[in-house]
Subunit: 341 residues, 4 copies
């Protein structure tokens, strides 16, 4: 069956598998201290324009969010997020498991508003009684968001400015970062992200890797004994090379951007086809996830031929579903999908 | 440089990489619900002689210990371990991070003594005041142990019997299980382990996989909503297929046992060579890790040509070091090492 | 300076101190196993009409909420609360510290709506993908609420019915329960609360005790080894008698209700005086907390003579402040306050 | 029945109750910001010779240990304790509950040896691989110990020196501190403790208070937002005055030392009587707890007339039991006990 269910339905980009084959019997040291990791980190530093950045490779998005947030926050602090933030909704309480509250602001098509953030922080710190409350200790945003939307450079700069004026680190969850950077509608580059954020991660799992996310501390601000924290959370792989190697390939010859651009091209074709056929969109997504409102009967029919994601009920008769393209989407499969629609 | 530092210095067994290549573009669902995981689980059930076993694939040993132990224990319970148990010494406090105490018994060459276990439990539950203490809630053993030693079938049966008489689940950490099962000195089979233990894991990372450990609940006793617990601990990979596929290969045509047997054959050759050359052993290990007492000057000299693990200081002039063989050890490299010794 | 800042500005009701004096040199066993605790528990059982209830005395409200919620929830569950619930706003993250998320519903003058609760639970459990989310595991309400409002018997019954249909325990935070039970506008009795709730606590600290809250498990549903859980949270006092004795006095001859009724009488006089003088109320509170909208200049002036609580900014020129009466409010002080207004 | 079971069998010292009566209707602010707390803190600073000390009042020993240790340790650190330390044995895992490991050294009659501490720290930090281990982050000692023994000034100075050379804070659990300070065999003063330790607590519950322990940070080293941490752990009482007032009385006119001295005098009389009657001591305790080896038949007989604590089985026919004196022990009761022995 055809699947547009997500951007993690296939294995890895073929160049990754090829490099794995070629280097398989090279002996390395463990736990991320190997040359693959070193080389990948160096390439990421260059791509970010951030020669001092500290890079760690972790295995998945929830793990990354959990470890980074727990490592940054002081014990009496929580993390500020849009209410639709992945950490607030779909990570099984992984943040609260570490003892920290997710402090929510309303979302605007999945995004946090800089003005509302400032208002919240101003009010919090103005109130003399906040010693009985959870202190905001960092800000979490996703780019692209859970709805496929993206921040403009101006918005990102504004959020960053608010964070700095209150001394709060800004953390960007880039599980699908490639698809934001390659969007036709973006003015935000990887270097911008490195500049505006204190820490972020470059998603691998959903952008061509078998597994792996690259955490980037941009301001020489990696928490003390970060590797021990990673171990303590169960996140340290003995064969760290598995992740280093993949990012080494993805950041060679701009592969990360090339495959992201492919996914966006596929998404745009799909989007135009949907528009032409008169489908209603739940919102305008400029990235690889497209949210469409389907009649329930149509949804059931279509579900016999193609897999997609149930997103949420729209009304009694309609449902929001998601179609995702990726580095692996073929033109042939896309045509099959369009013909089914 | 030659390395006998550990059993995780290379990538994956070639058959694993080949299967990855062949199946790379197959589309699957995420989070361990795919056909690779299903097939691997079925093969493991057969190998264990345990048709009801519930199998979950996790990414590394610390993560597995943390999740399994936290999922089994009640909040007022701790886990009983030999003081040399990996969870007590080299996991950066990953168990305590989940809020549980590691309750220690003395080790005997890395092993727990069934009689001492029984005495501890008897005393604990006899004492009327134990409501102010941490309740023993499960028992943790490693096989092979951190010192490469192995339990006999009789010892395993005795520990299991004590556990059952007190209603405590027995959990076996099998990070290097293959090397115990393939030892020339063992009388313990995988089916014995499945019979005597309530839960255990079959180590992949150190026995030929890129990453991955297979958790086996043997008595239809998987904790409620275990997948949610895994997610909450940051251990759920989107592309669960990565681990399912590897175990599917390892449990096809007995590959797991074949490559373990190779490592043992290499270890025995090394052991005999060391004996012949008059080296002193720290203890007798019948598995793939060999612990040798080296003069410090010899250690330094050897360290220029080959990597091995520092284990612990023996006295002012001597050090215990570890040489590990694995599925990947070549006869050629072994000969080079022997000639250097 | 006169204070209407809260209901915990004085020591304890004089009868409590007298009993302390009289019984001071009686020797008792520790940790809540003494006769004072036993006698108090028996009286509370009778007052609740709940002969099987299990009673534990804890020292404060945050501690009680933390321990009860952590002891009831399974590890993958969170607690459902109105967004204004004390556990969500003013307990410094004490619930999240235990690893559990507070799942919020909108408040209606501080109260949770049974229909909205049902809709939330229905949607949650209908959605097939909820294994990646925090499971609702219990429901938390406050009575009176943080805004002094109270549930009607019908509302309480409705919330209880929803909880039971989904198998979720209902927990009622009664930090100021006496003031709700004594309200002129209530139709809810202590026996109703015991019937509709699975666990609740009777507040002592704010209703005449030096310290102490009585946790009541109503359905023979006290969590396993609850005392050990209390100890683990640092909540077990060696001299448990301190709390037992106080509740023994408070539940002798209806003292708890008598002193609560006094506070309500004082609050009604204050409310009428405020109305007559043309003050604006933030909302209608039928209990001992009165929320008034003051001009900022008026607030400053008044603040020179009397202490009250800053609640929240109303607009640029106005502030919501709280006046609280209690068992200890004297008519004389009340008259002084009214003359100052 | 006569009780020598513990030092917390009665209420509070009469002067405390008297002061409670006298000040009961004084209105104060909440959460430890009142004048009683301020006055008590000032007196404690003077008694410690430590004008900069930061004082917080908490309600019990387990809570105090939990909060202080959790507030001091970094997330990757554990606390070093003798294996008999209260936090390692009889606090239901309250330290591990906060995510931290208790790292144990062997005890010597309940005490930690400075040389063994130094050896442990030296070895730990010398070993290059300690990033996979729990870092020692502070040292915990009890004075008197769980066996009633006490440190000499020289021992205390030596432990303190080791701690400082490794940059680890030294924390002293003084649940029964008064009885150590008043011991006939001690050369350690409260000022010594304040000098050698970075933080300690002065036990109230077991030395004449209804409840309450005074935490003293001696080096202007109170953790950031400590009150919020206390609240987060459920340890912040609304009526903080309850504890402030008691310590204000205990540190007026040397009452704390006077009542401790009384308990020691009672203990010495008991000790001499036991010796004369030929009882065997488990060890020599110079404080208010006396550990005696009783024949089991004798123990049962005595148990009909007097309560004491079961400590541990000595051999098949003998048991170690504890008799405790306190501020409240009367000469009359002591004589009755002696005549029963």
């Amino acid at each position: 069956m055809l699947s547009f269910e997500s951007d993690y339905t296939e294995g890895a980009h073929p160049q990754i598998l090829q490099k794995m084959q070629e280097t398989n019997m090279i002996q390395t040291t463990g736990y991320g201290t190997d040359d693959f990791c070193r080389s990948a980190a160096e390439k990421i530093r260059k791509a970010c324009g951030c020669p001092q950045a500290q890079i760690t490779f972790l295995s998945g998005g929830t793990q990354t969010n959990q470890i980074v947030i727990d490592a940054i926050l002081k014990p009496f602090e929580g993390v500020v997020s849009a209410d639709t933030g992945h950490i607030n909704s779909h990570e099984a309480g992984a943040i609260e498991y570490t003892g920290h509250k997710v402090l929510t602001l309303p979302n605007h098509l999945g995004k946090m508003d800089p003005g509302e953030l400032e208002h919240y922080l101003k009010t919090f710190f103005a109130d003399g009684n906040h010693e009985h409350m959870v202190f905001p200790g960092m800000v979490y945003i996703t780019h692209p968001t859970e709805y496929g939307t993206i921040y403009t450079k101006e918005e990102l700069a504004a959020i960053s400015a608010v964070c700095r004026s209150y001394g709060l680190p800004l953390y960007l969850d880039g599980a699908r970062m490639g698809y934001a950077l390659a969007s036709y509608e973006t003015d935000v580059t990887l270097k911008d992200i490195a500049e505006y954020c204190d820490v972020f991660y470059i998603g691998g799992t959903k952008v061509g890797a078998l597994l792996g996310e690259a955490v980037v501390f941009t301001k020489n601000n990696e928490p003390q004994h970060f590797i021990t924290r990673v171990k303590q959370h169960g996140g340290l792989l003995a064969k760290g090379r598995v992740m280093g190697l993949q990012f080494d390939v993805l950041f060679e010859d701009d592969l990360y951007m090339k495959i992201s651009a492919h996914a966006i091209r596929m998404a745009e074709i799909l989007k135009n086809a949907l528009k032409e056929k008169g489908y209603r969109f739940f919102l305008n997504s400029p990235t690889n996830q497209q949210f469409v409102i389907l009649e329930n009967s149509k949804m059931e029919e279509l579900g016999k031929e193609v897999r997609f994601s149930f997103w949420e009920a729209y009304d009694e008769d309609h449902t929001v579903v998601r179609f995702a393209t990726s580095w692996a989407t073929t033109e042939e499969n896309l045509e099959r999908l369009i013909s089914l629609l």
